[in-house]
Amino acid sequence: MASLTLDKVRKAYGPVEVLKEINIAIEDGEFLVLVGPSGCGKSTLLNLIAGLEGSSGGEIRIGDRVINDVHPKDRNIAMVFQSYALYPNMTVRKNITFGLEIRGVSNEDRDKAVADVAKLLQIEPLLDRKPSQLSGGQRQRVAMGRALVRDPDIFLFDEPLSNLDAKLRVDMRTEIKKLHQRLGSTIVYVTHDQIEAMTLASRIAVMKDGILQQFDTPQNIYERPNNIFVAGFIGSPSMNFINATLINDNGRLAVSIKRDNDPIVLPLKDAPESYQAYIGKDVVFGIRPEGLTHKRTGSDAPDSQYVNFDCKVEVIEPTGADTMTVVEIGGKEIVARVRPDRAPHPGEVMTFSADMSQISLFDPATELRI
């Protein structure tokens, strides 16, 4: 086990820059999730860490060791691939021990290692089967077994769950989390599923077009996204973005949202100093669906974090636990999360309550957090 540091890591294929100055550092035992849309360079970054591709610049360190020029087999890493990449001609047992065999581990030690791993992953009955005789979930386990048996410094996972059906995916997610808690190993995990990222990570790196957008704990990324992209990417349903103006409303900062008849004015709570420069200017007001609800108790108090406003309901989408209520504000469809027993009917005018302690403001030009 070891820490991992990426220092200004770059990767270019000819003139195409695929990764631009990635800086990431995680401690020993951390669970780092790389997340981002397809083609943003997640797999490439993982391949750089694994040594399957050479970097075009920067430094990669495991512990204190610079590994840029170290061969993959000597980096003491193990990798689980999206397609699992099990050797089709070998039994599960052989698949798991192949790496040990190549490294000259003795027969007895190999047998013992396989037994341990098989027990941990509950694949003992499968050991003498070929990969073609396994289900998707079982293959996934074997792929994990092949990585675990080596007891590496760092585990690398490239979308290991994306080939599984929804239910199995959730189960395996929990198992991976348990495994991490039990082994305490350092893990780098690639996914484009933001829920996987939130549930597994100790820290998340959000990427887009080869640029690291934000690198932080899941909670911080959720609550204080660096920019509109991160805010929209993390969380489901995603954050509402409303064009608004920052105004000084009787000594208090507030966002004012244009409407046909009368604007909605939402006073901010604990506005940071950085907002001052934007008074009178356009901003993008971001609020998550759970920040917009039916009217809450105590929301009429003047210094409450909740602010009320009325709005006409367009559509409702019940999900069971909550009812997603779509309203139109500032020409955009906005989703609010309402308790089912308080759910309105479409066409009704309802009083909503905005939780102003959980909002984000973004600069409309740079799309960065203010």
Binding site: N47, A50, L52, P72, K73, I77, A78, M79, F81, Q82, S83, A85, Y87, P88, N89, F98, G99, I102, R103, R146
Partner: protein, 295 residues
């Protein structure tokens, strides 16, 4: 399924006619192709006197294998009268190593071209592909010069070399196209497991290449065994392959034309490739389509 059956009930008679027509055409084609074979076999089993009396298509009255044993043991190739058998072994000594070597090299080439994409891999592949389209006749002269320089002129080893070089383009193409459909992640996983170029090739890639190996072996064996031009150009006399010997036997102008011996010799020459097709033909078809089906 149920729908289709229902549909065929409605238009049953129409289908039957179409089907009948189809079988008729197929049968005609089959006869067209099988008839010469039938004539060859039946002629080879007749005695010379019977051939002279009977018609071409009549079945032999008395089946005799004399022509076959004569062809194998006594037929005259040029002035040498010890049958086709030494030339059969010449062909074996040429075809087996040439097939194995060209298949093996093709496999390594295909593996290197797809899984270890070095700079210029595409150009190398394009050039190899180009080799497939060079007609035999074009390389005859330069090839004979090279063989002369190497001291391999008129030898079986020389023929093996020629066939390996010429077959390499095809085998490389086969293996490359097959390996393209094998995920790169397999090689990456093995690399992380600590395996190198050849370990990965032997332990992982080759064991899953059976279908394409069968294709390559059949293709190469047929090409090399049936080749006449290279055999006639680069191996003479005692080293000639069977096809060349067959030609010499059949084209002998002296003495009586022994049709039964000619037919038996021709059949003996064609038998090995026929056998390979019968034994492995179904893998051949399967292997040719394997890459595309796997996706």
């Amino acid at each position: 399924m149920a729908d289709i059956q229902h549909y065929s009930h409605d238009t049953g008679w129409k289908n039957t006619i179409l089907r009948g027509l189809l079988y008729l055409v197929l049968t005609l084609f089959a006869i067209y192709y099988l008839f010469p074979l039938f004539v060859m076999i039946s002629t080879s089993l007749k005695s010379l006197s019977e051939i002279r009396e009977g018609s071409l298509i009549s079945l032999p009255r008395v089946i005799t294998f004399d022509a076959w044993t004569y062809a194998w043991n006594e037929a005259c190739v040029g002035v040498e009268c010890s049958g086709i058998k030494i030339y059969f072994w010449n062909s074996v000594k040429m075809a087996v190593p040439a097939v194995l070597i060209s298949t093996f090299l093709g496999a390594i080439n295909g593996y290197a071209l797809t899984k270890w994409r070095f700079k210029g891999a595409n150009i190398v592949f394009a050039l190899l592909l180009f080799g497939c389209f060079i007609p035999f006749q074009v390389v005859l002269l330069p090839m004979s010069m090279v063989l002369g320089k190497l001291g391999l002129a008129s030898s079986t080893s020389g023929l093996v070399l020629v066939h390996v070089v010429y077959g390499l383009c095809f085998t490389t193409l086969f293996f490359r196209n097959y390996y393209v459909s094998i995920p790169d992640e397999l090689v990456k996983a093995a690399t992380i497991d600590g395996a190198g170029f050849f370990t990965i090739f032997w332990r992982i890639i080759l064991p899953i290449s059976t279908p394409i190996i069968v294709v390559s072996v059949i293709w190469q064996f047929t090409q090399i065994w049936n080749d006449f031009l290279f055999g006639a150009s680069f191996a003479s006399g005692d080293n000639a392959p069977m096809t060349v010997a067959l030609n010499n036997i059949v084209n002998t102008t002296t003495g009586v034309k022994q049709y039964n011996v000619d037919m038996a010799t021709a059949l003996l020459t064609g038998l090995p490739t026929l056998l390979v097709y019968v034994l492995a033909g179904k893998y051949f078809v399967r292997g040719l389509t394997a890459g595309s089906v796997k996706g």
